[in-house]
Protein backbone atom coordinates (compact mmCIF):
# COMPACT_ATOMS: atom_id res chain seq x y z
CA UNK A 1 0.00 0.00 0.00
CA UNK A 2 1.41 3.32 -1.06
CA UNK A 3 1.41 6.47 1.04
CA UNK A 4 -2.12 7.92 1.19
CA UNK A 5 -2.89 10.61 -1.35
CA UNK A 6 -4.29 13.02 1.23
CA UNK A 7 -4.83 13.58 4.91
CA UNK A 8 -2.55 13.35 7.87
CA UNK A 9 0.69 11.41 7.40
CA UNK A 10 2.86 9.81 10.03
CA UNK A 11 6.64 9.80 9.91
CA UNK A 12 6.62 6.14 10.97
CA UNK A 13 4.37 5.32 7.99
CA UNK A 14 6.75 7.07 5.61
CA UNK A 15 9.65 5.06 7.02
CA UNK A 16 7.64 1.86 6.61
CA UNK A 17 6.84 2.73 3.01
CA UNK A 18 10.50 3.33 2.27
CA UNK A 19 11.80 0.25 4.05
CA UNK A 20 8.89 -2.21 4.02
CA UNK A 21 7.32 -1.14 0.72
CA UNK A 22 4.06 -0.35 2.46
CA UNK A 23 2.85 2.57 4.55
CA UNK A 24 1.02 0.16 6.83
CA UNK A 25 3.52 -2.73 6.96
CA UNK A 26 4.47 -3.00 10.64
CA UNK A 27 7.56 -5.15 10.14
CA UNK A 28 10.22 -3.84 12.52
CA UNK A 29 12.40 -1.23 10.87
CA UNK A 30 16.10 -1.84 10.65
CA UNK A 31 18.80 0.66 11.52
CA UNK A 32 22.56 0.62 11.34
CA UNK A 33 24.28 -2.75 11.89
CA UNK A 34 20.86 -4.38 11.84
CA UNK A 35 19.82 -2.71 15.07
CA UNK A 36 16.54 -1.02 15.59
CA UNK A 37 16.78 2.60 14.52
CA UNK A 38 17.28 4.95 17.37
CA UNK A 39 15.43 7.68 15.57
CA UNK A 40 13.59 8.43 12.35
CA UNK A 41 13.83 11.80 10.73
CA UNK A 42 12.12 13.14 7.65
CA UNK A 43 15.54 13.71 6.15
CA UNK A 44 16.55 10.07 6.65
CA UNK A 45 13.38 9.01 4.86
CA UNK A 46 13.81 11.40 1.96
CA UNK A 47 17.40 10.41 1.33
CA UNK A 48 19.18 7.09 1.10
CA UNK A 49 21.88 5.24 2.97
CA UNK A 50 22.71 5.49 6.64
CA UNK A 51 24.52 8.79 6.77
CA UNK A 52 22.03 10.12 9.22
CA UNK A 53 22.85 7.58 11.89
CA UNK A 54 22.00 6.36 14.29
CA UNK A 55 18.85 6.32 12.22
CA UNK A 56 16.89 4.06 9.91
CA UNK A 57 18.75 2.79 6.80
CA UNK A 58 16.99 3.64 3.57
CA UNK A 59 17.08 2.62 -0.06
CA UNK A 60 17.11 5.26 -2.75
CA UNK A 61 13.80 6.92 -3.49
CA UNK A 62 11.91 5.24 -6.34
CA UNK A 63 11.54 7.98 -8.89
CA UNK A 64 9.43 5.61 -10.99
CA UNK A 65 6.56 6.23 -8.60
CA UNK A 66 3.99 8.65 -10.00
CA UNK A 67 4.73 10.85 -7.00
CA UNK A 68 7.88 10.93 -4.91
CA UNK A 69 9.65 13.18 -2.40
CA UNK A 70 12.66 15.19 -3.48
CA UNK A 71 15.91 15.02 -1.58
CA UNK A 72 16.34 18.75 -1.21
CA UNK A 73 15.92 20.65 1.99
CA UNK A 74 13.65 21.77 3.40
CA UNK A 75 11.86 18.43 3.41
CA UNK A 76 8.10 18.34 3.70
CA UNK A 77 5.67 15.58 4.62
CA UNK A 78 3.39 16.74 1.80
CA UNK A 79 5.98 15.63 -0.75
CA UNK A 80 5.16 12.04 0.20
CA UNK A 81 1.52 11.92 -0.82
CA UNK A 82 0.92 8.87 -3.08
CA UNK A 83 4.55 7.78 -2.99
CA UNK A 84 4.86 4.06 -3.82
CA UNK A 85 8.30 2.73 -3.04
CA UNK A 86 7.84 -0.56 -4.92
CA UNK A 87 6.06 0.92 -7.92
CA UNK A 88 7.20 -0.80 -11.12
CA UNK A 89 8.43 1.45 -13.88
CA UNK A 90 6.79 0.23 -17.07
CA UNK A 91 7.76 0.94 -20.65
CA UNK A 92 4.94 2.19 -22.88
CA UNK A 93 4.70 0.84 -26.41
CA UNK A 94 2.34 1.42 -29.31
CA UNK A 95 0.40 -1.77 -29.90
CA UNK A 96 -2.07 -3.19 -32.37
CA UNK A 97 -4.54 -4.27 -29.73
CA UNK A 98 -6.79 -6.48 -31.83
CA UNK A 99 -5.93 -10.15 -31.53
CA UNK A 100 -5.28 -11.79 -34.89
CA UNK A 101 -5.84 -15.47 -35.74
CA UNK A 102 -2.32 -16.03 -37.06
CA UNK A 103 0.71 -14.32 -35.60
CA UNK A 104 2.10 -12.86 -38.81
CA UNK A 105 -1.11 -10.90 -39.33
CA UNK A 106 -0.10 -8.74 -36.39
CA UNK A 107 2.72 -7.39 -38.57
CA UNK A 108 2.29 -4.21 -40.55
CA UNK A 109 -0.86 -3.21 -38.67
CA UNK A 110 -1.52 0.36 -37.68
CA UNK A 111 -1.11 0.66 -33.93
CA UNK A 112 -4.28 1.61 -32.10
CA UNK A 113 -3.36 1.70 -28.43
CA UNK A 114 -0.64 1.80 -25.79
CA UNK A 115 0.28 -1.13 -23.58
CA UNK A 116 2.91 -1.40 -20.88
CA UNK A 117 5.89 -3.74 -20.65
CA UNK A 118 8.62 -4.32 -18.05
CA UNK A 119 11.20 -2.66 -20.28
CA UNK A 120 11.80 -1.48 -23.84
CA UNK A 121 12.62 -4.97 -25.10
CA UNK A 122 9.63 -7.28 -24.55
CA UNK A 123 10.62 -10.90 -24.03
CA UNK A 124 9.09 -14.27 -23.22
CA UNK A 125 7.70 -14.39 -19.64
CA UNK A 126 7.28 -10.62 -19.45
CA UNK A 127 4.01 -9.45 -17.92
CA UNK A 128 2.04 -7.06 -20.12
CA UNK A 129 -0.51 -4.52 -18.93
CA UNK A 130 -3.02 -2.38 -20.74
CA UNK A 131 -2.95 0.30 -18.02
CA UNK A 132 0.02 2.44 -17.07
CA UNK A 133 -0.37 1.66 -13.38
CA UNK A 134 0.44 -2.01 -13.99
CA UNK A 135 -3.11 -3.37 -13.97
CA UNK A 136 -5.45 -4.93 -16.53
CA UNK A 137 -3.48 -7.57 -18.42
CA UNK A 138 -4.60 -8.11 -22.01
CA UNK A 139 -6.69 -11.10 -23.04
CA UNK A 140 -4.91 -14.12 -24.45
CA UNK A 141 -4.11 -13.58 -28.10
CA UNK A 142 -1.67 -12.59 -30.80
CA UNK A 143 -0.79 -8.91 -31.08
CA UNK A 144 1.80 -6.60 -32.59
CA UNK A 145 3.82 -3.63 -31.39
CA UNK A 146 6.03 -0.93 -32.82
CA UNK A 147 9.54 -1.12 -31.41
CA UNK A 148 10.11 2.64 -31.50
CA UNK A 149 7.43 5.30 -31.59
CA UNK A 150 4.11 4.82 -33.33
CA UNK A 151 3.00 3.82 -36.79
CA UNK A 152 2.73 0.25 -38.03
CA UNK A 153 3.80 -2.79 -36.06
CA UNK A 154 7.20 -4.34 -36.65
CA UNK A 155 7.10 -6.95 -33.90
CA UNK A 156 4.50 -9.57 -33.08
CA UNK A 157 3.91 -11.32 -29.79
CA UNK A 158 1.52 -13.67 -28.08
CA UNK A 159 0.25 -13.53 -24.52
CA UNK A 160 -1.45 -16.20 -22.44
CA UNK A 161 -4.59 -15.75 -20.34
CA UNK A 162 -2.53 -14.04 -17.62
CA UNK A 163 -1.13 -11.47 -20.02
CA UNK A 164 2.33 -13.05 -19.97
CA UNK A 165 4.28 -13.12 -23.22
CA UNK A 166 4.76 -16.63 -24.60
CA UNK A 167 6.47 -15.67 -27.86
CA UNK A 168 7.84 -12.54 -29.49
CA UNK A 169 9.26 -12.14 -32.99
CA UNK A 170 10.32 -9.38 -35.29
CA UNK A 171 8.20 -9.05 -38.40
Amino acid sequence: MAVPSSGTLSLLGLAREKQNDSYTNTTVLVGQQGNSPGAISLESCATSGNNHGPQVVMEATNTGSSSYPNSSTPHAMSEWYSYDHDAVVLAAKSVYTTSVPKGVFACGQTTNGTWYFPDQSPAVNDQVYTASNGTSPPSAGKYGYKALGGGTTDYRFEVNSSGVITSVNSC
Partner: protein, 171 residues
Protein backbone atom coordinates in the same frame (compact mmCIF):
# COMPACT_ATOMS: atom_id res chain seq x y z
CA UNK B 1 -8.24 -7.02 -51.14
CA UNK B 2 -11.01 -8.95 -49.46
CA UNK B 3 -14.03 -10.83 -50.69
CA UNK B 4 -17.01 -8.67 -51.57
CA UNK B 5 -19.20 -9.07 -48.49
CA UNK B 6 -22.40 -9.44 -50.48
CA UNK B 7 -21.03 -12.68 -51.90
CA UNK B 8 -20.50 -14.30 -48.51
CA UNK B 9 -23.48 -16.02 -46.91
CA UNK B 10 -23.83 -16.81 -43.25
CA UNK B 11 -23.50 -20.53 -42.67
CA UNK B 12 -23.93 -23.00 -39.87
CA UNK B 13 -22.36 -26.30 -40.77
CA UNK B 14 -20.73 -29.34 -39.31
CA UNK B 15 -17.09 -28.37 -39.83
CA UNK B 16 -17.37 -24.57 -39.71
CA UNK B 17 -19.67 -21.61 -39.24
CA UNK B 18 -19.69 -18.27 -41.02
CA UNK B 19 -21.10 -15.26 -39.21
CA UNK B 20 -21.13 -11.54 -39.87
CA UNK B 21 -20.29 -8.96 -37.24
CA UNK B 22 -20.69 -5.31 -38.16
CA UNK B 23 -20.87 -6.38 -41.78
CA UNK B 24 -17.62 -8.35 -41.70
CA UNK B 25 -17.72 -12.10 -42.30
CA UNK B 26 -15.78 -14.49 -40.16
CA UNK B 27 -15.35 -18.21 -40.73
CA UNK B 28 -14.91 -20.21 -37.56
CA UNK B 29 -13.50 -23.72 -37.62
CA UNK B 30 -13.69 -23.99 -33.82
CA UNK B 31 -11.02 -23.83 -31.14
CA UNK B 32 -10.14 -20.26 -32.01
CA UNK B 33 -9.39 -21.08 -35.64
CA UNK B 34 -10.87 -18.07 -37.34
CA UNK B 35 -10.43 -16.24 -40.60
CA UNK B 36 -11.86 -12.77 -40.99
CA UNK B 37 -12.70 -11.28 -44.35
CA UNK B 38 -9.95 -8.68 -44.14
CA UNK B 39 -7.61 -6.91 -46.52
CA UNK B 40 -4.48 -7.97 -44.75
CA UNK B 41 -4.73 -11.70 -45.43
CA UNK B 42 -3.63 -11.70 -49.06
CA UNK B 43 -1.52 -8.62 -48.63
CA UNK B 44 0.62 -10.19 -45.93
CA UNK B 45 0.83 -13.73 -47.26
CA UNK B 46 1.55 -12.74 -50.85
CA UNK B 47 4.28 -10.26 -50.04
CA UNK B 48 2.68 -6.83 -50.32
CA UNK B 49 2.95 -5.78 -46.66
CA UNK B 50 5.76 -3.24 -46.44
CA UNK B 51 6.42 -3.69 -42.73
CA UNK B 52 6.26 -7.48 -42.82
CA UNK B 53 9.98 -7.63 -43.46
CA UNK B 54 10.48 -11.38 -43.29
CA UNK B 55 7.61 -12.40 -45.56
CA UNK B 56 8.18 -9.55 -47.96
CA UNK B 57 11.83 -10.62 -48.31
CA UNK B 58 10.64 -13.99 -49.62
CA UNK B 59 9.03 -12.22 -52.56
CA UNK B 60 11.89 -9.85 -53.33
CA UNK B 61 12.67 -9.91 -57.06
CA UNK B 62 10.23 -12.79 -57.42
CA UNK B 63 7.26 -12.74 -59.75
CA UNK B 64 4.75 -15.49 -60.16
CA UNK B 65 1.98 -16.23 -62.60
CA UNK B 66 1.04 -19.81 -61.79
CA UNK B 67 0.22 -20.50 -58.16
CA UNK B 68 -0.92 -23.51 -56.18
CA UNK B 69 -2.48 -22.76 -52.81
CA UNK B 70 -2.88 -25.41 -50.12
CA UNK B 71 -5.89 -24.51 -47.96
CA UNK B 72 -8.96 -22.60 -49.08
CA UNK B 73 -10.29 -20.74 -46.06
CA UNK B 74 -12.60 -17.94 -47.13
CA UNK B 75 -10.87 -17.80 -50.50
CA UNK B 76 -8.91 -14.67 -49.65
CA UNK B 77 -5.59 -15.90 -51.04
CA UNK B 78 -6.86 -17.10 -54.44
CA UNK B 79 -8.96 -13.97 -54.79
CA UNK B 80 -5.90 -11.81 -54.06
CA UNK B 81 -3.80 -13.83 -56.51
CA UNK B 82 -6.43 -13.22 -59.15
CA UNK B 83 -7.42 -9.61 -58.54
CA UNK B 84 -4.15 -8.09 -57.36
CA UNK B 85 -1.42 -10.37 -58.67
CA UNK B 86 -3.21 -11.12 -61.94
CA UNK B 87 -2.12 -14.75 -61.89
CA UNK B 88 -3.24 -16.77 -64.91
CA UNK B 89 -3.27 -20.12 -63.09
CA UNK B 90 -4.67 -20.31 -59.57
CA UNK B 91 -5.20 -23.81 -58.25
CA UNK B 92 -6.38 -24.51 -54.72
CA UNK B 93 -6.20 -27.84 -52.88
CA UNK B 94 -8.71 -28.28 -50.08
CA UNK B 95 -9.78 -31.46 -48.30
CA UNK B 96 -12.96 -30.13 -46.68
CA UNK B 97 -15.86 -30.91 -49.03
CA UNK B 98 -18.28 -28.80 -47.01
CA UNK B 99 -15.99 -25.82 -47.45
CA UNK B 100 -15.53 -26.47 -51.17
CA UNK B 101 -19.31 -26.60 -51.59
CA UNK B 102 -19.77 -23.42 -49.57
CA UNK B 103 -17.22 -21.26 -51.37
CA UNK B 104 -19.23 -20.69 -54.53
CA UNK B 105 -18.13 -17.15 -55.27
CA UNK B 106 -14.64 -17.64 -56.66
CA UNK B 107 -14.38 -17.39 -60.40
CA UNK B 108 -12.01 -18.46 -63.18
CA UNK B 109 -9.09 -18.82 -63.33
CA UNK B 110 -9.46 -20.05 -59.75
CA UNK B 111 -9.81 -23.81 -59.70
CA UNK B 112 -10.51 -25.77 -56.52
CA UNK B 113 -9.53 -29.43 -56.21
CA UNK B 114 -10.44 -31.72 -53.37
CA UNK B 115 -7.35 -33.25 -51.85
CA UNK B 116 -4.86 -33.26 -49.02
CA UNK B 117 -2.41 -30.44 -49.60
CA UNK B 118 0.28 -32.37 -47.74
CA UNK B 119 0.24 -35.26 -50.19
CA UNK B 120 -1.44 -33.87 -53.31
CA UNK B 121 0.28 -34.64 -56.60
CA UNK B 122 -0.15 -31.79 -59.05
CA UNK B 123 -0.48 -32.37 -62.77
CA UNK B 124 1.42 -29.25 -63.68
CA UNK B 125 4.25 -27.01 -62.51
CA UNK B 126 3.90 -23.74 -60.63
CA UNK B 127 5.90 -20.61 -59.98
CA UNK B 128 4.65 -20.47 -56.42
CA UNK B 129 3.30 -23.19 -54.14
CA UNK B 130 1.94 -21.66 -50.95
CA UNK B 131 0.71 -23.90 -48.14
CA UNK B 132 -1.56 -22.32 -45.54
CA UNK B 133 -3.09 -25.03 -43.40
CA UNK B 134 -2.17 -24.05 -39.85
CA UNK B 135 -2.87 -21.50 -37.16
CA UNK B 136 0.03 -22.19 -34.84
CA UNK B 137 3.64 -22.12 -35.98
CA UNK B 138 4.66 -24.98 -33.71
CA UNK B 139 2.24 -27.26 -35.57
CA UNK B 140 4.48 -27.15 -38.64
CA UNK B 141 7.11 -29.64 -37.64
CA UNK B 142 10.36 -30.15 -39.52
CA UNK B 143 9.02 -33.50 -40.69
CA UNK B 144 5.98 -31.80 -42.22
CA UNK B 145 8.23 -29.25 -43.91
CA UNK B 146 10.46 -31.97 -45.31
CA UNK B 147 7.47 -33.90 -46.61
CA UNK B 148 6.05 -30.82 -48.32
CA UNK B 149 9.37 -30.09 -49.94
CA UNK B 150 9.76 -33.66 -51.16
CA UNK B 151 6.20 -33.74 -52.44
CA UNK B 152 6.26 -30.50 -54.39
CA UNK B 153 9.85 -29.85 -55.37
CA UNK B 154 9.47 -31.50 -58.75
CA UNK B 155 6.37 -29.43 -59.46
CA UNK B 156 8.10 -26.08 -59.41
CA UNK B 157 8.97 -24.08 -62.46
CA UNK B 158 12.56 -22.87 -62.75
CA UNK B 159 13.18 -20.42 -59.88
CA UNK B 160 9.83 -21.39 -58.40
CA UNK B 161 9.26 -21.31 -54.66
CA UNK B 162 7.45 -23.23 -51.95
CA UNK B 163 6.46 -20.81 -49.22
CA UNK B 164 5.00 -21.44 -45.78
CA UNK B 165 3.79 -17.94 -44.92
CA UNK B 166 2.92 -18.71 -41.32
CA UNK B 167 6.59 -19.51 -40.72
CA UNK B 168 7.74 -16.66 -42.97
CA UNK B 169 9.81 -19.30 -44.68
CA UNK B 170 10.72 -20.67 -48.10
CA UNK B 171 11.39 -24.40 -48.24
Amino acid sequence: MKIEESKIKEHSGTSFNVTKTDGVSKIDFGNGKLIENADYYGKVFLGDCEDCTKITALYKDFTFDKILIGGLGLGLLPEYAKSVKNCSVIDVVENNQELIDYIDYLESPINITKGDALSYTPSKKYDLILIDLWWEEEDITQEIQDNIKNNYNSHLETNGKIILPLLEKEL
